[in-house]
Symmetry: D2
Subunit: 327 residues, 4 copies
C-alpha cells in the first residue's frame, strides 16, 4: 500500500508525563525511517493555533530520550475548545501542508483530537501520555511506571523517618480520579493502608485497619491517599484519624508535582518507543481517530471515542493483595 502520508505534525498536550520526549523521539525517527517529514507543534494545540511549528530532524531529538517533561512544551488550550480556535489550527495545518497529526496526551487532549479529526477530516492518532494510567485501550500509559517509582521511592524515604520516630504518615499521591499510582506505590512501598477513589472506604474502616496494625505492634507506618479519593485530601483524612487514634504521632506529606517529572524508567521508554513507532505506522496504514496502546504486550488501535469513554477500572485484586500484606 502506498501511503499518502508525507508530512506529520506531532504535539504534546495536557499534563506532562515522563516519557513524552521518548515518544516524540520515536515519532520523529519513525517518520524519517519512512521518509516522512515531521514537524513539532509547540505548546500543545496552542502551537497549532499560533503556527508555533518547526520541522524536526534526527538531531532534533538527540539527548531527549532520558529527559523528563516534553521539549515540545505542553498546555491545556482553551482556544482549541472553540470552533474558531480549531479553525485557526486547521488553517495552519494546511499552511504547513500536514497530512496527519500525532497527539501525545490524556483524555482531554484526545477529545480535542477527535473533534478536530471529525470537523476537518484529518487523520489523527493519539498516544497515551499521562501518569494517571486512566485510559482504556492500553494496559499502561506513558509516564505511569515512572510516577509509580517516584511515589514509591518517596514513600521508601518517608518510611525511614516514620520507622525511626514510630510515626504514622499520610502520603498523598497523584492520579486524578484513578487510584492506579496509589495502589502500586502502596503495595510497592509496604503501606499499611490506601484510600483510593474506586473503593468505598470509610474513615471507620481505615481506623479499624490502623487499630489492628497497632495491635500487631506496627507502631509506625504509611497510609497512601489518592488525590481523588472521596474521604478528602491527606490532611482531612489525617485529621479524622487523629481524632480517633490520638496516640499516633501523625504527619502528612503531599508529594505533588515531583511525580510528574524525572528521567523515565526503562519500561516507560520502551513503551513510548513502541507506541511512537506504531503511531506513525498506523497513520501509514490508514488508521485515524484511534489511540495506539499496548494490550497484553501487543500494539492495539482503539477508537478514540471508545478510549476516552470507557472507564478503566482498577481491579479488586490489588485491594485484596494489599489487605493481606498489611497485616
Amino acid at each position: 500500500m502506498a501511503s499518502t502520508i508525507k508530512r506529520i505534525g506531532v504535539l504534546t498536550s495536557g499534563g506532562d508525563a515522563p516519557g513524552m520526549n521518548a515518544a516524540v523521539r520515536a515519532v520523529v525517527r519513525a517518520c524519517i525511517y519512512y521518509d516522512i517529514e515531521v514537524f513539532g507543534v509547540y505548546k500543545g494545540y496552542d502551537g497549532l493555533i499560533n503556527a508555533n511549528i518547526k520541522q524536526l530532524y534526527v538531531r532534533s531529538v538527540s539527548n531527549i530520550l532520558s529527559r523528563g517533561g516534553t521539549f515540545l512544551l505542553t498546555a491545556r488550550s482553551e482556544e482549541f475548545r472553540t470552533k474558531e480556535g480549531r479553525e485557526k489550527a486547521y488553517e495552519n495545518f494546511k499552511k504547513f501542508d500536514l497530512d496527519a497529526l500525532v497527539v501525545i496526551g490524556g483524555d482531554g487532549s484526545f477529545t480535542g483530537a477527535n473533534i478536530f479529526s471529525q470537523e476537518f477530516d484529518v487523520p489523527v492518532i493519539g498516544i497515551p501520555g499521562t501518569i494517571d494510567n486512566d485510559l482504556a485501550g492500553t494496559d499502561f500509559t506513558i509516564g505511569f511506571d515512572t510516577a509509580c517509582n517516584t511515589a514509591r521511592e518517596a514513600i521508601d524515604k518517608i518510611r525511614d523517618t516514620a520507622s525511626s520516630h514510630e510515626r504514622l504518615f499520610f502520603v498523598e499521591v497523584m492520579g486524578r480520579d484513578a487510584g492506579f499510582i496509589a495502589v502500586n506505590s502502596a503495595i510497592g512501598g509496604g503501606a499499611v493502608a490506601m484510600v483510593v477513589p474506586e473503593h468505598n472506604w470509610t474513615i471507620d474502616a481505615l481506623i479499624k485497619r490502623l487499630r489492628k496494625g497497632a495491635a500487631n505492634k506496627k507502631a509506625s507506618n504509611v497510609v497512601v491517599i489518592a488525590e481523588g479519593c472521596q474521604l478528602g485530601n491527606a490532611y482531612e483524612v489525617a485529621d479524622a484519624v487523629k481524632k480517633e487514634l490520638g496516640y499516633f504521632d501523625i504527619r502528612v506529606t503531599v508529594l505533588g508535582h515531583l511525580q510528574r517529572g524525572g528521567s523515565p524508567t526503562t519500561m516507560d521508554r520502551v513503551l513510548a518507543s513502541r507506541l511512537g513507532v506504531a503511531a506513525v505506522e498506523g497513520l501509514r496504514h490508514g488508521e485515524s481517530k484511534v489511540m495506539v496502546g499496548m494490550i497484553n504486550n501487543e500494539i492495539a488501535y482503539t477508537p478514540i471515542g471508545q478510549a476516552i469513554k470507557t472507564e478503566k477500572r482498577l481491579g479488586a485484586e490489588e485491594f485484596r493483595i494489599a489487605k493481606i500484606l498489611s497485616i
Copy 2:
C-alpha cells in the same frame, strides 16, 4: 474447601534477583493471614538437606521489601541433584512437619522442585525469580524490571562519557541465553545496535549498521551485547569491529553482577507481592507442581514441566523497533 496446608516451607534458590525478599515477605504474610505456619529454609535446597530452617513471623520480614538480594540466602545445590540429597531433604521436610514447599528461583531450581514433588508426593509451587525473564508461564519474572533499569541507568551514564568523547562503547549486559535485558536496555538506553542470542546477527551486519550511524554523524554511541550472544563476548565483538572501523575510539564495559542487586522497582515489588500471595493461595486450593506467574496481568498457574521446557521467545517486534529508532 478446607485446606490441609498447615505448615509451609519457603526457600530461594539459584541466582538471586531483586524482589526475592518481597516475594518471601508476601509468602510469609499470606501464610499468617491464612493461619498457616511458615518456615524459612536457608541457602536454597542445601538448607532443606541440612535442616537450616527457622519459623518466620510478620516481624521476620519487616524492612525487607525494599532490599535487594534474599535474606534467606541462596545457592545452587549439587547435593539436591542426587537422590540421596533429596532424601535427606525429605527427611527434614517431614521432621519439620511441613505440608508444602514454595521455591523462588529459576528453571534449574524448578527442575529440582518438580523432581522432589514427584518423588515424595509433596505439594510444591514455584515463583519465578530471575533477572533473565527466560521462563514461560509468566510475562515477567521477578527481578527483570529492576535489572533492565539498572542496566539502562548504567548505559545512560556511559552514554554521557561516550558523547563527550565521541566514543563507541560496547556494553555487555546479563541475561544468560536470553536477550530480554539486552533488548529493553538497548531500546531504553537509545543504543545504536544490540546483539542478542535470539538473533542471527553477523559482525558484518553490525558493522553495516555502525557505518550507517557514522554516516548520520552519530560519532558516539553504545552497542549493547547480551552475554549469551553468538558473536562472542563484548571484548571479542569490539575487537572484530575495531578491525573494520578503526576510526572509532572503542571501549568496552561489562556491567556484571551489579545487575543482580539493588532495591527492586515498584513493578518488581508489586509482581513479587502478587505472586507470593498467589503461591500460598494456590497451595491452599490444591495446586502443586506448578509455577505461579502473571499472564496478561492475571495470575496463572503453569505446570512446572511446561514452564521450564517451553522456550520463551523474544518477539521480533523489538528488533524492528530498535532498528527503526537507531537511524
Copy 3:
C-alpha cells in the same frame, strides 16, 4: 594511656537523619575493635529512662550502613528535660555499668547530654546528626549531604514539569532556622531565586528578580523557600508573588519529610564512619562534654556548650553565586 572506658552506651536522639545508622555502626565497630562493650539505648533518652537497652555486636550492625533512619529509633524526650527523668536515666546508666555515653543528634539532644554529663559527672560525647547542618564545630552534619541531594533531585523533577508547562514553582525545603539545604539545593537545582532565614529579602526584591527572569524569557522556573524564612511559608510567598505577577502560572510543592529519609550518600557515610570512630577514640582519650566534628577535613572536638551556642552562619558568598547564576 590505659583507658578506663570499658562499656559505652550509644543512642540517637531528636529528628532522624540519613547516616545515623552508619554512625552507630562505626561506634559499635570501634568499640569492639578497642575491646569495649557497647550498648544500644533505644528511642533516645527515653530508652535510658526506661532501661530500653541492649548489648550490640558486630552482627547487630550488619546491613545498616546503607539504610536511612536509625534502627535504635529516636525521640524527643520530655521526661529527660526534668531532673527526675535524668535521675532515672542515671540509675539505668549505673545499672548497666556504663562508663560513657555517645549521643547522636542535634542541638536539643546535645543540651540534654551536656546537662546529664555535668549533673552526674559522666563522660558524654556528641556526634552531629541532623539534616539541618546548623551546628558549629563541624563543617557538615551527618545527613546534610543526603538531604541536599534529596531536595535537589526533587527540584530536578519539578523543573521537568515546570519547563514543560512554563510554570513557576515555589518549592519549600527543610532546614529549620538555617538555609543550608535551601542554598545548596537552589544552586544545585538551578533555581531562579531562594528565600532563606539568614537573608533579609523582601517580597519586592523577590518579585524584582522574577520580573528580570521573565524579561530574559525564563518563562518557567523554580524558587526555593527555606521552611524557616521570614517571608512566610511557600504558600504565603507564592500568594504574595501571584498578586503582583499574575501572568505566571504558579504552583507550590512542600517537600516535607522525605528529606529526612533515604539511603545516605557516600559523603554522609564516610563522615558518619569517621565521626563514629573518633567519638570512641575521644572517650578513650578522656574527652567529655564535647561534640566531635570535622573541620577542614580534620577531626575536631568542640565543647558542647560552644557547639550549641555559636551560630553557624551561612556565608554571603553563596548568595552572590546564586544571584550571578540566576540571570
Copy 4:
C-alpha cells in the same frame, strides 16, 4: 579596577567528569553577568586549533546543569602538545579576539594551558574537572563526589548479591594513580578491604585481613581495588587470593566508564558553580596561570605549575578508619 577582559573562551579537556557542564554554565552566566562575551571551544584544544568555536548565551546553557558529560565535548589533543599546534591555536585565539581562556580539566590539560599561557602571554585559568581528585590546590575536584557515589551505589548493589550467595567480590574502581574514589567508596560501601596505589599492601596482608573476616563469619564481602594499585588489576588480585583462600566463591566486577557519567550530585554542582564564577572573577582581577580551587570551603587560586607538580596525598587516617570498620 577596570577589567580588560571582554571576551573569554572556555573549553573542556581530557577525561570528562560529571559537573563539567555545570562549570561551563557558571562560566557562561558569570561572563554575561559581567558583560563579557563568552565563546565555547569544542572538543578541547583541538577546537582551538581547528576554530571549532561558537559564542555562547544564557540559553546555550539551559538544561545542562543536571547533565553528565560535557556538551562542549572533550578530547586529549596530540597536536596541542606540539609548538605548531599551539601556534594554530593562538591564531584562532586572536582571530576570535579572545582575551582569556578557561580550561576545565585535569593535570594534562593544565600542563598544556600553562605552556600556552607562557608562550603567548595569554591569561589562562584552570578549573579542576576530573573524577580522580588527584589535583593539589583544591580539596575536591569536580566530578569526584559523583564518581564516589556511582561507585558506592554499584558496590551497594553488588553487596546484595554477594550477601545472598555468601560470595567475595573484587570490585575495581577508577582513580588513575590515586586511591580517593577507592577509599571513599570502600568506606561508604562497607568493604572488608581496599587496595590503593598509595598503600604498600601485599597480597599476604590482604589475605590475612580476609581470613580474619572469615573467622568473624563474614562469609560474603567486597574488596575494593583501585585501578592504579600495585598488586595488579582486580582479576589478578582475585586470582592471587583464590589460590590461598580457595573456600571463597570469588567474583570480579570492573566498574569501568559508568563512573565517568551520570547526573552530578548536589555537591559537584555547587562546587562547579562556585569555581566557574570564581574563574571569571579571577580573570577580571588579573589572575593567570592559576587553577581555581576550593580549600577549606574558600576559593583559592594556585599557580598551575604548583597544582600539577604537588602530589595530593591520600591521608593515612582513612586507612585506619577502614581497618577499624572492617572487623
